[in-house]
């Protein structure tokens, strides 16, 4: 038995915390700042214990000002630091959208290629926790629209643990979306889980009958749907996008060329969404290999309802994915 490569059961939250801890240990330029990240350990508990371990200079509680601290993160990054900025939820990040889009994403261009912004912004996204219409949206697609940044959506413990390190090494701004429903997800993880690549999509389950494309919070939903479909003899292949900008079109197309059918599952609103982009790319790249129209399972196009029964109805559920997949498979030519 070696002690170093111990596998243990852990959570997505702890995997993320471990990634931050390792980054802080490895590089003195790294510091974490955001609302409630210090004394409270983060509103989702990700940074619990880090203030005690690393001190106030490196685990920095900020005033409530998203534009201010994302902007400060940009300045610190340009000045040689490697800040990790935590925004409590994606809805609050809209207050910092000018800093993210007009500043972080454009300064390299505006400086004629001279000024990189090696900033990592982490934020919680998505619904399912009865946090109502101002804390629950899934706006990853808005950010994926912006050139000049990298957008990641870790949906597994390996990615929660392994994406932060390479993201901090990236000279360009990186946004990491952590779906709130994933924090308590448990699985086995190697004690020294390695860094992961930031560009390719992952095949989370192989199958020949239909491709289910998803990312982030709807990966567990989609995998559960694939299980159920297997019970009725439909072998679904599940693609986890992992990176929303850039998109790994090739992995999606390779799967669709094999299965000839696709359903895209996206917690964002359908109109102008990532699911729309994926559908367009499949049509552009594999139109003649499709045996059926592409289907999409998205959130209802309403502000996220507060009441549980309505929120459940608004979000993509396992049954919705199963029904959509059955319909697409059923429409064999």
């Amino acid at each position: 038995m070696t002690e170093a490569v111990e596998t243990r059961t852990t959570t997505y939250r702890e995997a993320m915390r471990e990634a931050i801890r390792e980054a802080l240990q490895r590089d003195e330029r790294v510091f974490l700042m955001g609302e409630d990240v210090g004394r409270y350990g983060g509103t989702f508990g990700v940074s619990r214990g880090l203030l005690e371990e690393f001190g106030e200079e490196r685990i920095r509680d900020t005033p409530l000002s998203e534009g201010g601290f994302v902007g400060a993160g940009i300045g610190a990054a340009i000045g040689g630091m490697r800040p990790i900025v935590e925004v409590m939820t994606v809805n609050f990040s809209l207050l910092a959208l000018d800093q993210i889009m007009n500043n972080a994403a454009t300064l390299l261009h505006m400086s004629g290629g001279q000024i990189n912004v090696p900033l990592v912004i982490r934020m919680t996204t998505g619904g399912g926790r009865q946090l109502a219409a101002q804390h629950s949206h899934s706006l990853e697609g808005w950010y994926a629209h912006i050139p000049g940044i990298r957008v990641l959506a870790p949906a597994t413990l390996e990615d929660a643990r392994g994406m932060l390190g390479p993201a901090l090494e990236d000279p360009d701004p990186v946004i990491i979306f952590e779906h709130g429903s994933l924090y308590n997800m448990e699985s086995e993880l190697d004690g020294d889980a390695p860094p992961v690549d930031l560009t390719s999509a992952g095949v989370r389950r192989e199958g020949d009958d239909i491709t289910l494309v998803t990312y982030g919070g709807t990966l567990p939903t989609t995998l559960a749907a694939a299980d159920e479909l297997a019970g009725s003899g439909i072998a679904a292949e599940v693609i986890d996008l992992r990176s929303l900008r850039p998109l790994d079109t090739e992995t999606i197309l390779a799967s669709v060329r094999k299965t000839r059918r696709a359903v895209v599952i996206d917690e964002g609103w359908r109109t102008g969404s990532i699911s729309a982009e994926i559908s367009a790319r499949i049509v552009e790249g594999a139109f003649f290999e499709l045996d059926a129209p592409i289907a999409r399972v998205c959130s209802a196009e309403v502000p996220m309802p507060y009441a549980k029964h309505m929120e459940d109805a608004a979000l993509p559920q396992v049954a919705d994915v199963v029904a959509a997949a059955r319909e697409v498979v059923g429409s064999r030519p």
Partner: protein, 357 residues
């Protein structure tokens, strides 16, 4: 007592050293050697003549939209001169004079005004930021930069420029609040030029001064005659020294005036009286410094004539150099450069489609 007054010990000083007539308050004159004073004058004059040339080039359709500096030379030179080379200068979009003082070649400024981002290239090792057009968004950057400086114990001070309009933006308030709570080594240098495009200073805020906006954030503020280069220098130097010695940030309000257009895209005759402009022309910062230097026999009329000629040549050379660079940089496919440290495949594909198409 259920209702009592909370003492808020705060006052805003107003500083003038060099009067409109060129007379100085000898007791307040900062310690500056003759060469430095002449360099102030030369760079202010260069900024003014350069500005006038850029305006002509813009009207001829040879460069793009830009924001002239005329009238604000003292506010910029007096403040930029307080920075050491390792200190950081974070501009908004009108800091031509400050950039020239910090060593940005005039040809680069023309190139940028013509739309070429290559002109924004900052000289190697220079601690200057590129221009920021969103209004106030650069102020939080300056605070984060200063936080890094403090964390690394680098001793670098960060001076950030913005205008009167920016003090109404959220980013200004969020940044000052940060600087107050974090004790960062910042100088917030407001050039109150009285007009945010068509919005006059009195419509911008009901506050008596902009300097007092530091009060709510625990940051001292001072108002300075912004057309008085000596007062700007003296006040900014104090602020830089405070920052460097770990006492935190200062807000310096330079009361000045934009003599020209906001940018070449607007027409001031639609929103302000020419009489007001004429009044401010009497307070011209360059004339004022020139009168002072002449009174001290540091400069003669003849010297100024020679200087004008020299500067005209310099401005011409800057344009010629920029024009030459523009010819070399003519490929529109260059638009795909500089969005990521390494251009990703999807952008390379777009470049190829564009080039082939």
């Amino acid at each position: 007592m259920p209702r009592e007054t909370i003492e808020l010990p705060y006052e805003v000083e107003r500083l003038t050293i060099l009067g409109e007539d060129g007379e100085v308050d000898e007791e307040l004159v900062p310690d500056l050697d003759d060469d430095t004073l002449l360099r102030f004058h030369r760079t202010m004059l260069l900024a003014r003549r350069f500005d006038e040339r850029l305006l002509k080039l813009q009207r001829q359709g040879r460069i793009g939209t830009f924001a002239p500096v005329s009238g604000q030379e003292a506010a910029q030179i007096g403040s930029a001169a307080c920075l050491e080379e390792a200190d950081w200068m974070v501009p908004s979009f009108r800091e031509t004079a400050a950039a020239l003082w910090r060593g940005t070649p005039a040809s680069a400024l023309v190139l940028y005004a013509a739309g070429y981002n290559e002109g924004a290239a900052i000289p190697e090792d220079a601690h200057d930021f590129p221009i920021a057009i969103p209004v106030a968004s650069q102020i939080p950057h300056a605070v984060g930069l200063a936080y890094g400086s403090k964390y690394r114990d680098a001793g670098e001070v960060v001076l950030v420029y913005f205008g009167d309009g920016a003090t109404s933006e959220g980013d200004f308030h969020e940044a000052l609040n940060f600087a107050g709570t974090y004790g960062t080594p910042n100088v917030f240098l407001c050039q109150n030029n009285h007009w945010a495009i068509s919005v006059p200073r009195e419509t911008q805020t009901a506050a008596k001064t902009l300097a007092q906006k530091g009060l709510a954030y625990g940051i001292p503020g001072i108002q300075v005659d912004g057309n008085d280069v000596l007062a700007v220098y003296a006040a900014t130097r104090e602020a830089v020294e405070r920052a460097r010695s770990g006492e935190g940030a200062t807000l310096v309000e330079c009361v000045t005036y934009r003599l020209s257009v906001h940018t070449t895209a607007d027409d001031p005759s639609k929103y302000r009286d020419e009489e007001e402009v004429e009044e401010w022309k009497k307070r011209d910062p360059i004339t004022r410094l020139q009168t002072y230097l002449e009174s001290r026999d540091l400069l003669s009329e003849e010297d100024v004539d020679d200087l004008e000629e020299e500067i005209a040549g310099e401005v011409e050379k800057a344009w010629e150099e920029a024009e030459k660079r523009m010819e070399e940089l003519g490929d529109p496919a260059d638009m795909f450069d500089h969005h990521y440290a390494e251009t990703p495949p999807h952008l390379e594909a777009q470049r190829e489609r564009w080039t082939d198409g």
